[in-house]
């Protein structure tokens, strides 16, 4: 079955595609000495987005990107066409009745 360009995109990117790279800046051993234990146990990491400069690349490859301000950076390709996924959350019952409770209070006075 022939794959669409969109499906191909999941695992491979072409030059000019928006991608996210990952870099380990400091390993746990290289980190500051006086950190809280949970922080000291993990590497110091960064993620940056930009347009792929290599002709083709797969997730996990070391790639070069051009950031939104035109700087060239390199790192491990972790995501192709990354989307913003933060959202409005779920409705919160704790918040829904706040004003109703105020009315009850003023009526009861």
């Amino acid at each position: 079955m022939k794959r669409t360009r969109q499906e191909k995109h999941i695992n491979s990117a072409r030059k000019g595609d928006l991608v996210q790279i990952h870099k380990v800046i400091l390993t746990p051993e290289q980190r500051l000495a006086d950190l809280p234990a949970p922080t000291k146990a993990v590497p110091y990491e960064a993620w940056i987005k930009g347009l792929l400069l290599d002709n083709e690349a797969k997730i996990g490859d070391t790639v070069r990107i051009e950031t939104f301000i035109g700087r060239e950076l390199s790192g491990t390709l972790v995501e192709i066409n990354p989307a913003y996924s933060h959202n409005f959350g779920k409705p919160r019952p704790e918040l829904l009745t706040i004003v109703k409770e105020l009315e009850r209070y003023s009526e009861g006075k």
């Binding site: 809280p36 993990v42 110091y44 004003v99």
Partner: protein, 474 residues
């Protein structure tokens, strides 16, 4: 020539990098290991308040509406003792170009960077300041790099900060999304050195002076409308810039008898550099995890001397809980028709109990709001909190436990503030300064500086030195 990029090597070049990237020679303001010429530092950029106003006007920053919150005031009066319940006004800073008062800071710093001939700016911030710097950089045709502490080691990000990543990228910035840790400073220095860009730190003089217009404007607006200056201004406090700039602006307007109140969200007990605690908080700024350390040791920051010195200006400092801020956010939307981001409503949450103390003819100004969006909402923060093991329930906010339980008040009467003892803060400040300058014997001049820098008296400083068994050089 490529220089050594290791942590140790970059940190050893700190002063040189900061001097080159800030355009400020901090050394010329040093008086002793303890004292420095604060006003000299503040005027080093050479901007008058009128010039700052003109610069900000060019990019649509400032002149935001001042709105009386009549319905919230009425609610406060219904739960206050007879004759009590001051009038509450809010400065709707959401009207600034990128949606918060941070545009005031960024506008002056980015203008300054452009004037000095820098091609780009760098800022380390997880807050609205990143979007403000990116937005201003667009206006001036400069490049912007924003460094954000956003993920824990599982790559789980705070929704509020993820929204700010989006906003910064929408303005065309290069964003570094980083994991938890103070090594943010290292990567900032490294990037400053690599790029030769300007450090738009929150703590440089222009970053603080830009906020003076906010205090000045609100004093003028109240004076014009009501014929007198505000009795109280409530200011969200984190790194100190908001309090410092606003209070200086109030003074410049002649509003000298206004009580300056700082307010932070209570996150005591959570470690700000902990990968584990990072996602157990719903507020990423204006909280006690920044607010208290920045009062007791203002110079532990990303520049040699911090221009944001809130302890010089605070009359009171109060804490509120996360649940109370969400409650206040709901009141502002549903009673006043202003849907705004929760972090910007920290001072509003404190204003409700504070207004109960005031007489009905007294005026309290909440000096900011911020924009709202996906991630910057009570619903997204509470959903995220629950996903990270925090219990969310209704009840008495007294039962709030940072990192464990968020309690949404059942009634407005339960809204309260916890007063922080500023004298104890002043004593820790003196203790920390002396710790940092160990071996140096303070002089009478230093005592004067410490008193001024902590809005206290030479007596209190002398007593603190005595308690620490430190002798004064004569």
């Amino acid at each position: 020539m490529k220089r050594d990029a290791s942590h140790h090597s970059v940190m050893s070049r700190k002063n040189e990098i900061l001097k080159n990237s800030s355009g400020v020679d901090y050394e010329q303001f040093e008086i002793s290991p303890i004292a420095f010429d604060y006003e000299g530092l503040m005027s080093s950029g050479g901007y008058s308040l009128a010039e700052v106003q003109k610069i900000q006007m060019k990019t649509g920053v400032g002149n935001t509406p001042l709105v009386e919150l009549k319905n919230i005031t009425q609610l406060v009066r219904s739960i206050s003792p007879p004759g009590k319940g001051g009038r509450i006004f809010v400065k709707d800073e959401k009207a600034c170009p990128s949606g918060s008062f941070k545009d005031r800071r960024a506008s002056l710093s980015v203008h300054h960077a452009a004037r000095l001939g820098f091609k780009g700016v760098v800022a380390a911030t997880s807050g609205n300041y990143g979007a403000a710097v990116a937005s201003q950089a667009s206006k001036y045709g400069l490049k912007a790099i924003i460094l954000q502490e956003v993920y824990d080691s599982r790559k789980v990000g705070q929704p509020e900060i993820l929204e700010k990543t989006r906003a910064c990228e929408a303005y065309g910035a290069e964003v570094w999304q980083l994991t938890v840790g103070p090594e943010l400073f290292y990567i900032m220095l490294l990037i400053l050195e690599e790029t030769g860009f300007f450090t738009a730190s929150l703590y440089i003089p222009t970053g603080v002076m830009g906020i003076e217009t906010l205090g000045y404007e609100l004093a003028q607006q109240i004076k014009e409308q009501e014929g007198k200056f505000p009795d109280m201004v409530v200011i969200a406090h984190a790194g100190g810039g908001n309090v410092t700039g606003t209070a200086r602006g109030l003074q410049k307007a002649g509003s000298n008898r206004t009580t300056v109140v700082g307010a932070s969200v209570d996150l005591r007990g959570l470690h700000m550099a902990s990968d584990h605690d990072f996602n157990r908080k719903s507020f990423t700024t204006a909280h006690s995890g920044f607010g208290i350390p920045f009062l007791t040791l203002p110079d532990r920051t990303d520049v040699p001397r911090n221009a944001a010195r809130a302890l010089r200006y605070l009359d009171r400092y109060v804490l509120v809980s996360q649940g109370e801020v969400f409650y206040a956010t709901e009141l502002l939307a549903k009673l006043e028709g202003l849907e705004r981001g929760p972090a910007g409503n920290t001072s509003l949450a404190a204003a409700i109990p504070l207004a109960k103390e005031l007489d009905r003819d007294q005026i309290l100004v909440v000096q900011e709001t911020e924009y709202t969006a996906a991630g910057k909402l009570p619903s997204s923060q509470l959903t995220f909190a629950e996903e990270n093991g925090i219990e969310v329930r209704k009840g008495d906010p007294k039962e709030n436990v940072p990192g464990k339980v968020i309690v949404i008040p059942e009634r407005a009467q339960q809204m309260r503030i916890e007063e922080v003892d500023l004298n104890r803060i002043r004593q820790s400040y003196v203790k920390n300064v002396l710790e940092a300058t160990k071996g140096y014997r303070p002089t009478e001049n230093d005592i004067r500086f410490l008193a001024e820098d902590s809005k206290s008296s030479a007596e209190l400083i002398r007593k603190t030195l005595q308690d620490l068994s430190i002798e004064v050089s004569t």
